[in-house]
């Protein structure tokens, strides 16, 4: 990969001050009518952190309830929401909590942070583009996402059948989401997915156009940084998967309100069809959540090993392969609906195939570190943590891919442990790695390395304590989506709740660190991470000028760089 700052010879943006480069509009126009990719990226990150606090607080309510067998706190929450606490209303409250937690974390935390936040900020910078291809559409994407979140929050204040709010799980399976939940709450929740989905599709179109059309001269596809590759693959997954979800949930809406029977056997429909459609979207969706993380970890591991990433082309095409195969494995989420043996066999084999490109990535990260000059700066420890914990989740994924084993552990806490290892550790660790990696670039201030490391270790202990015991609970048969359990499961559940408290403490360290950096942090240099940080964003000031690359940087190819080095030996 020759896309290095060393060979970037065009001009130094801040060295040749363009008199328009730092002209910023007023507060309202800048933040509410923004068309600047960096400002929109910042808005997305603030939004994702806000939604993450809400979604994380909801998981706190759930862990408190699960700390001991029996129903402890749900009635209190029902009354707080203006309902009357009784057995059914309490259980409905639980369904509302798991639904909100899932939808918020998937659609309003991980996706906005990865794609809207870091994608918007760094895709244009890394490919040497002045902005996204469609800056106004970028603004629409963001505000559609906010509107979607608002719709989901509103759903908790209106009736949803058994009680207030939509208690349908993030999967919104029919018939629970159709005839099983009267009242407008479920319509609000579904509409929230329509809005967020529309925003994401527009964002995907924007990224695809930007990456295809706006790369700096000389930046061929095979020279793009891996984070940009990951965003390109993610954008295609969004583009092809989200419309299918839109179709499925639109059919839910018409089944609920307009008398159609797409998913109702009484009218000739089939509820299983909804599951097929949902997971045709849902499986690519889990790669949408992790692929950008793969890209971030690739940048970070290369930076702090002071080596180009091992097997660049293999890394890029492994992501393409994961994206393609991700579309033909969806029914492994529905092994227990009554698939015949041959279908299960196919989906088991196809699912296991995904372990191959994923293994290529894991081994290439290790090979990048191998023999490298490794510095354990804050982004690097988070990236290594991600590699380790994502692999743990990947191993249980291969285990669950087996149709025969899944019959036993389907919808148990084993599945909960699996997808939290790949998401709330895989995706979230890569988000924190990226945050610490790029925070100095985005804010112009250095965070505290000490607090970042402390955050890492406390968070690491906390999340492992939450989720590792869930493997045991699942293998012992504790089912998902219930607020109560037999006392035999008490110890591990109690341990998980203690883990939640430790994790919550680590988040306090995170926010202290951010405040410290913003109020008292040292001024960040253009490139705080040394010669390993070779992508174009490190050639700009920290924070970058409001408009960058008005004269496009020219990326030389390997041979030209090599000739120049050897033609002018004194240069080195």
């Amino acid at each position: 990969m020759a896309t290095t700052a060393d060979t970037f010879q065009a001009h130094q943006e801040h060295g040749r001050a363009h008199h328009d480069a730092d002209h910023k509009p007023g507060f309202f126009a800048r933040w509410f009518m923004s068309t600047n990719h960096k400002d929109i990226g910042t808005l997305y990150l603030i939004f994702a952190i806000t939604a993450g606090i809400v979604g994380g607080a909801i998981s706190g309510i759930m862990r408190a309830e699960l700390a001991a067998p029996g129903i402890q706190y749900l009635g209190w929450w029902v009354q707080l929401m203006g309902g009357e606490a009784n057995f059914d209303a309490n259980l409905h409250m639980w369904n509302v909590l798991i639904t909100a937690h899932g939808l918020i974390m998937v659609f309003f935390m991980v996706m906005p942070a990865m794609i809207g936040g870091f994608g918007n900020w760094f895709v244009p910078l890394m490919i040497g583009a002045p902005d996204m291809a469609f800056p106004r559409m970028n603004n629409i994407s963001f505000w559609l996402t906010v509107a979607g979140f608002t719709s989901l929050m509103l759903s908790t204040f209106v009736p949803g059948g058994t009680g207030q709010g939509a208690g349908i799980g993030w999967t919104a399976y029919a018939p629970l989401s159709t005839s099983g939940s009267t009242g407008p709450a479920v319509d609000f929740a579904i509409f929230s997915l329509h809005l967020a989905g529309a925003g994401s599709i527009l964002g995907a179109i924007n990224f695809i156009t930007t990456i295809f059309n706006m790369r700096a001269p000389g930046m061929t596809l095979h020279k793009m940084p891996l984070f940009v590759w990951s965003m390109l693959v993610t954008a295609f997954l969004l583009l092809l998967a989200l419309p299918v979800l839109a179709a499925a949930i639109t059919m839910l809406i018409t089944d609920r309100n307009f008398g159609t029977t797409f998913f109702d056997a009484g009218g000739g429909g089939d509820p299983i069809l909804y599951q097929h459609l949902f997971w045709f979207f849902g499986h690519p969706e889990v790669y949408i959540m992790i692929l950008p993380g793969f890209g971030m970890v690739s940048q970070i591991v290369a930076t702090f090993s002071r080596k180009p990433v091992f097997g660049y082309l293999g890394m890029a095409y492994a992501m393409v392969a994961i994206g393609v195969v991700g579309f033909v494995v969806w029914a492994h989420h529905m092994y227990t609906v009554g698939l015949d043996v041959n279908t299960k066999m196919y989906f088991t084999a196809a699912t296991m195939v995904i372990a191959v490109p994923t293994g290529v990535k894991i081994f290439s990260w290790i090979a990048t570190m191998w023999g490298g000059s490794i510095e354990f700066k804050s982004p690097m420890v988070w990236a290594i943590g991600m590699i380790f914990l994502f692999t743990v989740g990947g191993v249980t994924g291969v285990y669950l891919a087996n149709g025969g084993i899944d019959d036993v552990v389907h919808d148990t806490y084993f599945v909960v442990a699996h997808f939290h290892y790949v998401l709330s550790m895989g995706a979230v660790f890569s988000l924190f790695a990226a945050f610490y990696y790029w925070f100095p670039k985005m804010s112009g201030r250095m965070h505290s390395e000490l607090l970042s490391h402390l955050h890492f270790w406390v968070f690491f202990v906390g999340v492992n304590l939450i989720f590792f015991p869930m493997h045991f609970l699942g293998l012992q048969g504790m089912p998902r989506r219930y607020p109560d359990y037999t006392p035999a499961y008490t110890e591990f559940n109690h341990l998980a709740t203690v883990g939640y408290m430790i994790m919550a403490a680590s988040m306090a360290i995170f926010f202290v660190n951010v405040l410290y950096a913003l109020l008292a942090g040292k001024k960040a240099p253009d490139n705080p991470w040394g010669p390993g940080a070779t992508t174009l964003e490190w050639t700009l000031s920290s924070p970058p000028p409001y408009h960058q690359f008005e004269t496009l940087p020219v990326i030389e190819d390997n041979k030209a760089a090599h000739d120049r080095e050897h033609g002018r030996p004194s240069h080195a």
């Binding site: 295809f212 059309n213 061929t220 989200l242 179709a247 797409f262 009484g266 009218g267």
Partner: protein, 190 residues
């Protein structure tokens, strides 16, 4: 390729192509409802039984007679939606049938409520690999059934097992096929 100038391809063109992909996937999402039904009817996926005409049945009978097919056991199963106040049972629990021969089986349904109710039966067979060979000539599941308050009816199923099932390796160890129906309250389909 050297330095692709950003103006070579227009942004709008790429964006419209991408939007076209998205719209195509949206269309496929909606098209999946009829396509899914068609797919199951054609392939017998998920235990969807086949529909046959009288002449198909006659042909199968001649084929079975010439090939000397054996017998197979058919078990009958019935259930109804939780909200449907019907009593729905098979009149016989099993039948030993000659492969290729037309067979008649009966189910009885009784409306225990004090209002007329129209029901619609969904159906499948287990094991699912038997579905492509399980042919129905007549079935109460082909149409909606309306029962008056307290009315009890006997409902026939006229079916045969295709003799070609003997050549299907997946059917080699199948000794019994279960035919299952579930009655739902009919909704006015769109």
């Amino acid at each position: 390729m050297a330095a692709a100038a950003p103006t070579q391809r227009s942004n709008a063109k790429v964006a419209f192509m991408a939007a076209g992909f998205a719209l195509a996937m949206l269309g496929l999402g909606f098209a999946s409802a009829p396509l899914y039904r068609l797919f199951c009817q054609v392939t017998g996926f998920g235990g969807t039984t086949m529909r046959a005409t009288e002449s198909d049945a006659a042909l199968a009978e001649r084929l079975a007679a010439s090939a000397g097919a054996g017998t197979i056991s058919v078990r009958f199963d019935a259930s109804q939606d939780r909200g449907l106040p019907w009593r729905f049972r098979p009149a016989q629990s099993t039948q030993q049938v000659a492969i290729g021969q037309r067979q008649m089986a009966f189910y009885t349904a009784r409306n225990n409520s004090d209002r007329a109710i129209t029901g619609r039966a969904t159906y499948n067979v287990e094991p699912e690999q038997a579905a492509p060979w399980f042919n129905k000539i007549q079935c109460f599941c082909f149409t909606e059934q309306t029962l008056q308050p307290g009315e009890e009816v006997r409902m026939p199923v006229l079916y045969y097992i295709d003799p070609k099932a003997k050549d299907d390796p997946l059917m080699a160890d199948v000794e019994q096929v279960t035919l299952s129906y579930t009655f739902h309250q009919a909704k006015d389909a769109p």
